[in-house]
């Protein structure tokens, strides 16, 4: 066998090594795996829906588990998800912070209050994302999306679509410490 004919195989082997290294280094990007999973949640601070003079943010929530759930009254899938969130709230294992995403609905704030009054409120707190900046920082593609954040502020899991009771059990509850409970109401800062 002439060594000349082994050259292509050698080049290919080198390429495979590069690709293999690449794949292990690649951040888990994409729709299903947010690049943020495993990293600190980008700092956020948003006005509280019921009292916009006060805000709630990632700093105040340090030390606690929480679920950050993006939704909007314009979002059909969020209505779908709502029942599952109400059931999850009844479990009282972790606090759910709702982020009402205004996008281009001018009456979103009042619509949101009406929605919660009519359909029930699964959230410990609801904040409003008016300019969508936080949504961009968090890489939200479409509501609903939810993040599970641990006491160190690290995103442990991201659900890129609606939460169902199965998803809640499999992906959220399984990641919480056993016997976790919702802490007493988090006060908003002024």
């Amino acid at each position: 066998m002439s060594p000349r004919f082994l050259i292509p195989l050698g080049v290919f082997a080198a390429l495979v090594v590069v690709l293999a290294v690449g794949i292990n280094h690649s951040p888990e990007v994409g729709v299903l795996q947010s690049p943020l999973v495993g990293h600190q949640i980008p700092d956020w601070e948003l006005p509280i829906l019921t009292d916009p003079t006060k805000t709630l943010g990632s700093r105040q929530l340090k030390g606690q588990w929480y679920v950050l759930n993006y939704w909007g009254t314009w979002c059909i899938a969020c209505r779908e998800e709502h029942a599952a969130l109400l059931a999850a709230q009844r479990d009282a294992r972790v606090q759910i912070i709702g982020v009402d995403w205004k996008t281009d609905n001018p009456t979103e704030d009042s619509d949101a209050l009406e929605w919660l009054a009519k359909l029930g409120n699964p959230y410990s707190q609801v904040v409003s994302d008016h300019d969508g900046r936080t949504a961009i920082n968090l890489g939200i593609a479409a509501a609903p999306e939810s993040f599970l954040v641990n006491p160190e502020g690290v995103i442990v899991f991201k659900q890129p679509m609606g939460i169902t009771p199965e998803v809640w059990k499999r992906e959220f509850l399984s990641r919480l410490p056993p016997h976790s409970t919702v802490p007493p109401a988090t006060p908003g800062a002024s």
């Binding site: 292509p8 690709l19 794949i23 690649s26 299903l32 795996q33």
Partner: protein
């Protein structure tokens, strides 16, 4: 129930692909004729199973079956029917199914057309195709099942990615994939020859039409993708050297080299092992494209939902298939000796240069695409490689290639006598340079003297390609379709070169802010914004601007660029307003609302852009013409009549 049947059909297809691979490869090896014959039956069965699976998934999309996860993620009740069908390949799982389906279609075509090939050789080809199909179906079932259920079903779907909701993109992936997958046929022919350990003298003639067909589809697919990005991504770019674009371009470059080296192998029995290697490499690059797009190793606008576990699977598969083929090559290629010689200025020489330059071009693209990864491997910081690298390095290989093209087509086989062609070549070169100079100085103004080179080279290719056919016509000699096809493809290349030069040198572009009633001048045209109004689509709301374009006070056209916001994903997509005037595009895209009735707009004047789409179209048509040549049909008729050319290529 139906989706489960689809899943089941895929499992059956996997088993049949396994049988096809086993019987096709082992049958001829152990000399069992009944096993050999069984490979063909497996092909038909596999095709039926895969077509069933595809049909069931399409049905789920058409009937809004949101209990299927893939449908729920990529469709919506407001999505128009055409896009519900196109949503089949809108994301990873379904596009993989499309890949498998197209492979089954190609395999079926090979099985039907190769009834006249030597039985064992044909079985080996089908066996190798079976291995590929097995790997991809296993990949789908193991990591990317499109039939996974979502229980309880979603009330409505998450919608198709808005970028894909466009006619251009709806047809671009199937055409491109047909090209990608078609290269698997050339690959399988190469592997079958190596498994036999000898290359039939007719091997190149059998392989050529398949390769040309795959190449023509690849040409169309790349062009459609480029056209789509031109009018929908909003910035009017048609090529960005994006990793995924490169992933389709590299197989094209190598397939182009393969077409040319196959010509030498067919006519002169030379370059045998080189042709085999190119056939392996062309398909390997198309597999690698699949890997790059789906593994998340390189991030790009085209990336699918990335998942390293999928990447690992593809990498292992890649290693087995390509590594296996290259090992076979290292073992068997030395047996193929060509002992004919040729002169320096013979056609063989020119085609050798063609091959070397095309492979260098592909290597520079590969290097640039993988540079970030290679840097990462050696612990270097993130490296980004863009057009400033690709353009000059690529041109370095391509300019000599294009110059040699005009001469090479007039060189004769074996003997290096160019004297007869020297005079007409010099005359056409003179005309081409004059044309280039006239275009640059007379028509567009002398801003870009270098454009003479591009337009000159392009014109020379066209003129010198026409020399021979025109001469034959004048002498009332017949022209084979193969020669006509080659001529048309070369003219297409010349047209594309001229178009690229024109577009790159003479595009005028401005980002302007206009309030209603105001106008701005771009490249000699006046763009006047009349106003904006909201419009509603089936599943989106849009802002539509009305822009009147005029020249010297005379209105030419009214354009309606839109910015569409899709309801479900709340994602915005631009649809540019384009008017074509004598091959020049007047282009306007709507940007952001700047407040107070003022909007940002991007206006472009792109001369010769029509030629940029026509050039590749000519190339693909040339390919289609060439593969309809009589001698391929003759080959079949001969084989049917039992006339076999003497064997003995192996020494």
């Amino acid at each position: 129930m139906l989706p489960e049947l689809g899943h089941f059909a895929l499992i059956l297809a996997l088993l049949l692909a396994g049988l096809q691979a086993f019987f096709g490869i082992v049958g001829p090896a152990v000399g069992r004729d009944r096993w050999t014959a069984a490979a063909t039956s497996a092909v038909a069965g596999q095709f039926v199973m895969i077509a069933t699976a595809v049909g069931i998934l399409v049905y789920a999309f058409v009937t809004y079956d949101f209990s299927v996860l893939y449908v729920a993620e990529n469709s919506n009740s407001a999505l128009p029917l055409m896009y519900r069908i196109a949503a089949l390949w809108g994301a990873h799982e379904g596009s993989l199914l499309l890949w498998i389906f197209l492979l089954a279609v190609w395999t079926l075509a090979v099985a039907i057309a190769s009834r006249n090939l030597p039985e064992r050789f044909a079985a080996r080809v089908l066996g190798v195709l079976g291995v590929l199909s097995f790997g991809f179906i296993l990949f789908t079932l193991a990591t990317s099942d499109p039939f996974r259920r979502l229980i309880p079903a979603a009330a409505d779907g998450h919608d198709l990615n808005p970028l894909l909701q466009d006619p251009g993109l709806a047809i671009h992936p199937p055409v491109l994939y047909t090209g990608y997958v078609g290269l698997a046929v050339a690959f399988s022919f190469a592997c079958a020859a190596m498994l036999e350990g000898r290359m039939d003298p007719d091997w190149a003639r059998w392989t050529r039409p398949w390769t040309t067909a795959a190449w023509a589809f690849l040409t169309c697919g790349i062009t459609l993708g480029s056209w789509w990005s031109y009018y929908t991504l909003g910035w009017g770019g048609y090529w960005a050297w994006d990793p995924v674009e490169n992933a389709s371009f590299m197989p094209w470059l190598v397939a182009t080299a393969l077409i040319h080296s196959l010509a030498v192998t067919e006519k002169r029995g030379l370059f045998k092992s080189w042709t085999l290697l190119l056939a392996i490499v062309a398909f390997s690059l198309s597999l690698m494209g699949t890997f790059l797009v789906r593994s998340g190793v390189l991030v790009s606008v085209h990336s699918f939902a990335a998942d390293p576990s999928r990447g690992r699977f593809i990498l292992v598969f890649l290693g087995l298939v390509i590594g296996g083929a290259l090992t076979l090559y290292a073992w068997r290629a030395p047996l193929l000796k060509s002992n004919a010689g040729f002169d320096l200025l013979s056609r063989e020489s020119f085609l050798l240069f063609n091959n070397i330059l095309l492979v260098i071009a592909a290597a520079t693209v590969l290097g640039g695409t993988l540079a970030p990864l290679i840097a990462d491997t050696f612990g270097q910081p993130t490296l980004s490689v863009g057009p400033p690298y690709f353009r000059p390095t690529f041109l370095l290989a391509v300019i000599p290639l294009l110059l040699l093209l005009s001469i090479g087509i007039h060189a004769s086989w074996k003997r290096g006598r160019l004297e007869a062609a020297a005079r007409p070549l010099l005359v056409t070169l003179g005309i081409a340079v004059a044309l280039g100079a006239a275009t640059v100085f007379g028509f567009y103004g002398g801003r870009h003297a270098l454009a003479i080179v591009g337009i000159g080279i392009g014109s020379w290719i066209i003129l010198s390609s026409l020399l021979d056919p025109v001469d034959r016509l004048r002498r009332h000699l017949s022209l084979s379709r193969a020669v006509l096809g080659m001529t048309l493809a070369h003219i297409g290349m010349g047209v594309a070169v001229i178009a690229l030069t024109g577009v790159e040198s003479y595009t005028s572009e401005r980002d302007i802010a206009l309030s209603a009633g105001a106008s701005a001048e771009v490249g000699g045209y006046d763009f006047k914004l009349l106003g904006t109004q909201p419009v509603e689509g089936p599943n989106y709301s849009a802002i539509r601007a009305t822009v009147v374009v005029s020249r010297d006070g005379r209105p030419i056209t009214t354009l309606f660029p839109e910015s569409r916001t899709f309801w479900v994903q709340q994602q915005t997509r631009k649809v540019a307003g384009i008017y074509n005037r004598h091959g020049t595009d007047l282009f306007v895209a709507l940007g952001d609302d700047l407040g107070a009735g003022s909007w940002s707009l991007r206006a472009q004047i792109r001369p010769m852009i029509t030629l940029l789409w026509l050039g590749p179209l000519f190339m693909a048509l040339g390919g289609a013409l060439a593969l309809s040549d009589r001698r391929y049909r003759l080959a079949r008729a001969e084989a049917r009549a039992g006339v076999k050319t003497p064997l003995g290529a192996a020494h």
